[in-house]
Amino acid sequence: MNGKIIKFVSYLLCISFVVSALKIPFIFKTTVNAEDSSSISEIKVSENDEYSAYLKNNSNYIETDENFSFGTSSLSIEKTESVKVENKIAKLWDGNTESAVWSVNVPNTAFYCMKLDFLAAKGAGMDYNFSILIDGKLLFSELDNITFKRIWQDSSEIRTNSAGNQISPSLKEVFDWQSEYVIDGIGFVGSPLKIVLTAGKHEITFLRNNEEPIYLSSLSLCSDVKVASYYDVLKEYEQNGYKSYSGEAIKIEGEKAYIKSSDSLIAKSDTSCASVKPSSPAYDVINYIGSSNWAVAGDYITWKVNVKQDGLYSLGFRFRQNYLLGNNVYRMLEIDGKVPFEEAKSIDFIYNDNWQYGIFSDNQNKPYLFHLTQGEHILKLTVTLGNSATVCSELQDCIYRMGNIYHNMVMVMGTTPDTNRNYDLFKQIKGIEDEFKTCYESLISMNKQLKSLTGNDSDSVSITMQNAASVIKRILDNPYRTQHYKNDFYSNYCGLGSALTEIQKVPLDIDQILLLNPDDNEKKMAGWKEQFIYSIKRFIASFTMDYNNISGTVSQGKNIDLWVSWGRDQVQVLNNAIQELFTPKSKIGVNVKIVDASLIQAILSGNAPDCYLRLARTSPVDLAMRGALYDLKNFDDFDEVLTRFAPGAEIPYNFKGGCYALPDTQSFNMMFYRKDIFEKYNLQVPKTWEEFINVSTFLFHKNLQVGVPYTKISDLGTTSAGIGALNLYPTLLLQNGLALYNDEHTATNLSDKAAIAIFEKWTDFYAKYGYSISYDFYNRFRSGEMPMGIAPYTQYNTIAVAATEISGLWGMVEIPGTKQEDGSINYMSAGGGSGSAILNVSKKKDLAWEFLKWWTSAEAQTRYAKDIEAVLGAAARVDTANVDALKQLSWDKDDLKSILNQWSSVVELPEIPGSYYTIRSIDQAFWAVVNSGENPTNTLIKWSKEADDEIMRKRHEYRLDKSDK
């Protein structure tokens, strides 16, 4: 027994000796590096230019109690005269004019709120976004992002399709005068923004951030509306002797809203629960409104209600808040344009998995009472961050600081620090310790605030905060071990970023709003028995319902079969668009079906549809060479239809002189860069590849990375994206004036000397300059680890929507180009995308063509793209191939310009029989060079021969060469 222990101990000693021997070099390294103290940097946090700081700096001023209104006579817009529209004098400010200037004059120095009287003019349907300058200066950052909403209404009643499912109506814009305060666009500031104006003349300049036209009638400088607290209001009720309402509850159906502030606020259907009224176990019934579209501060919905009896009412809601786990969601209630009392400014809706019923009441569960007179009233619920707004703004600040800390840390330690080295971070970067402390304290205090709001601190946001705080605490306690916590710190930083976007988005579903008799405490929900029976009915119904037949059988005289292999939500949106825009006009019914089967199998079995949307890039030619698709050039107006797309967008779908699909989506790369980091190092945004490499080398020295996209061909899906979308090699070829295939499309040009030189240049990115091959662009860009990268332009929305903490700190420009002999720069880029085709076996080709023409039109594409964003969120931007449609989506003005600029230099590559082998061969050659350091010339020639062989074989197989005929 003793012998065993001794043996064990001796083993242990041996191992520890080996381990310590391994460590020696690292110890040695430490002593060397300790001398290297010349590079002490300092952490800088840019000055706080937010509203809260502005208020603090100007706390000596009082708020005005007067109201000054300035009409069109004080408004100057270039080349515009006053006109009378909708009973008011106004000036039209259209998209061509950059600014609208109000000249105002106030008698007293004080805080003023701004209130704008405006009428939406017909435009692209986007909300207005302005920057407001006072005497040419931006007083605080919130004034850079001021939003005014367009307003919308249901365009029709709820309709029922032939399958028995209800379809919610689309929205139409309402052109009506609105009078709105200037408020913070993100919602961190709950009340209207106040500015200090000294006595005398001032200029208030509105700068537009998009091109939407608007009628402006007047600007008021006034005080904020005073709202009394509930107990004062209650006293008033008693003084006036109001009586409680005693009748039946008045029910307002959520889905039957009156005005909505966004065209995405469509009524929805949830048939999973018996409590939601109306309900049906078998069919889709439109029965609620809200969800993720009703989540951003400032969005509102109003309902009209007819009250039959004067009196005091309490307010009940049947709602669902299963979005913010463990947190509350807030809404502000206005009745007839007025907040009835202070407490109604932030009604809280608690979390639960299911639908719930609640009465708006105080801490003691006594319902708040509202006085309503007989007649029509308008109830308005506005999204607000309510009591969590202060936490949000503090969290934003904290995340900004942490990001700054992180990228300072990376500059000292690199992305993969040596754990055995003491980086002496607190001395290397001046002030970083204080920054850590500030973050730690603010995290702790935010967590406390949240706890006081929700009563618990186990929700996801609180937990993220606690984790982040504990990591920072550990760093503060053991500064010598910071490198161990780097990854932890980073993941918590990202976590807080998502937490912030999470608590800023506060969705809510409303099924019913009830005006109640104050004594009515009954829970208006289905009991478990009712729910059980309902579930069984649903189960039985599931055997007979065809959930894949989205449209129901269309019994129009003329109809076509349409197949798509998209998600349900997308198809639902497509179907709505068809039924509202296409079928009524063309009198052609469309049977929309979701299929997962391959088109080949469908043709084989004789069940093929007439039309198929969004075939992957390589499919049209693949199918066309087998005679499965119909040549669209047979239609007379084909050339006319082509003008909708970027020039050459149809090239990948050409085969033997025919064109077998219309471009549906098209995407290409843009370059993203972090403005803050570029500014810090005085870097210029690279315009050519030489400059790009220079910037990347500089960034490498700062331990930062750049992203050059490379997608490994891992399955059929990646191949079918098309060769241009996978990596930059085709783009580089194009920029050097080379084509991928020879003119006859019988072989690749890869064994060409110039192509090999470019191949070498391309592999050098990874083999020589060490760019990452696989990386998550979004996360690294967000953290600042990868301040420059090339990515599909659709990343724009993801970053804009999800990475709010860096909003304004990044830009998107054209990809680097190649300098030509004449000194100009060639920005050409290859693209990717999909096309929509008509099947050769179809007997209704003309009808299918009508449909395709409609689907690729700007009207349909815009409608689809907008609705998809409404349903899935703004990150789900559609990369439509229709140029006009893209312009109508919400872009920042400059970014749109860059996108269009880049788009005009997109050159599509042809797809030819056997082209999947070209992609493969390039990929294989790439890996041979990057992995094993093989000679690029030999490798590329070897693999290009494989590709050529396959192309020859296919040409032979389908008798494409003249000699074969």
């Binding site: 993969t416 040596d418 080949i600 061909i713 990452s772 091959i773 696989s774 998550d776 296919k954």
Partner: protein, 304 residues
């Protein structure tokens, strides 16, 4: 009288008795023919044709087979890969799953149930091997890269799944991990079927240790189960493809993990060359049949 008649016509009676047997067999036989025999036969026929699923098949004789053996160098690579893969994972996987089953079988009832569930669960979960792609991710934040980087073993992330040096080894490891599936379960069942009386008798007859017990009693008494789990193992080794395609993609770097089945689906679903794909599948079928014969012979050795 009745009895007499039955005796006399014994032969014809047996013949008559077959009728209900055939009727009872019929549902299965029809389905089996329709969904197994017919496709196999049709793929043999199809292998002599050129067929792209849309146009009519045209007869090409032995062209597909000639191309397979002479002209298609990717097929040669895939054959080599399949053989390497099968030779390593087949016996090793079988051996490991038997060893594990033998060890787990030593536990008593409740513990054994829990353990066999735990070991079987990767197979239950379907594509559980997907997690290996996160472990071996080529990103510097991939688990293994991240650990190696953190401890200073490597300076740059290794492209585990994109480097022909590593891909096959990784796939073999994952396949071995996966082989704790059906053959493990079968082995446990087989071990429990071995009659305790045989062990007692063996003890009396002079079995001296557990190895002898295993070799002379346990293994021979579960021969049929061994054969079953062996066949399963062969089938899964030769037709392995999902693991490779999930981890290393299609095509893998330098076709380093391209197996016959991968090639088959590549030819069939990317190039729509159904005739050629059928020829490959016929070849694979023959390959499996031959190895099944060899293994049957080997298993007969147990206990001798």
């Amino acid at each position: 009288m009745h009895r007499f008649k039955r005796q006399r016509n014994a032969y014809s009676l047996i013949k008559a008795d077959k009728k209900p047997a055939i009727v009872m067999l019929l549902p299965f036989a029809v389905l089996f023919c329709l969904f197994t025999v017919l496709p196999v036969a049709s793929s043999v026929v199809l292998s002599f044709f050129h067929y792209d699923m849309i146009s009519m098949p045209s007869f090409v004789g032995l062209d597909n087979y000639i191309r397979m053996i002479v002209a298609d160098n990717v097929f040669t690579i895939s054959l080599k890969n399949t053989l390497v893969f099968a030779v390593v994972t087949g016996p090793l996987g079988f051996f490991l799953s038997f060893l594990l089953a033998w060890m787990v079988n030593e536990f008593n009832g409740y513990m054994r149930a829990v353990l066999s569930f735990l070991f079987y669960s990767p197979s239950l979960a379907g594509n559980a091997y997907f997690i290996w792609s996160i472990l071996f991710s080529g990103d510097s934040y991939g688990y293994i890269n991240s650990i190696l980087l953190n401890y200073g073993f490597i300076q740059e992330p290794i492209q585990w799944l994109n480097n022909a040096q590593y891909t096959m080894t990784i796939c073999i490891i994952v396949q071995l991990w996966m082989s704790m599936g059906i053959s493990f379960l079968a082995n446990i069942a087989g071990l429990q079927n071995a009659s305790p009386q045989l062990y007692e008798a063996g003890a009396i007859d002079g079995i001296r240790n557990r190895w002898q017990e295993l070799w002379y009693i346990t293994l021979p008494s579960m021969k049929s189960i061994l054969l079953f789990s062996c066949v399963m193992q062969i089938q899964s080794s030769f037709s392995a493809s999902a693991v490779m395609t999930t981890l290393t993609g299609v095509p893998s770097v330098e076709y380093s993990t391209h197996t016959i089945v991968t090639h088959l689906s590549d030819v069939g679903s990317v190039r729509y060359e159904m005739g050629y794909a059928a020829a490959i599948s016929v070849f694979l079928f023959a390959l499996m049949a031959v190895s099944r014969l060899i293994i049957g012979k080997i298993i007969n050795f147990t206990g001798k």
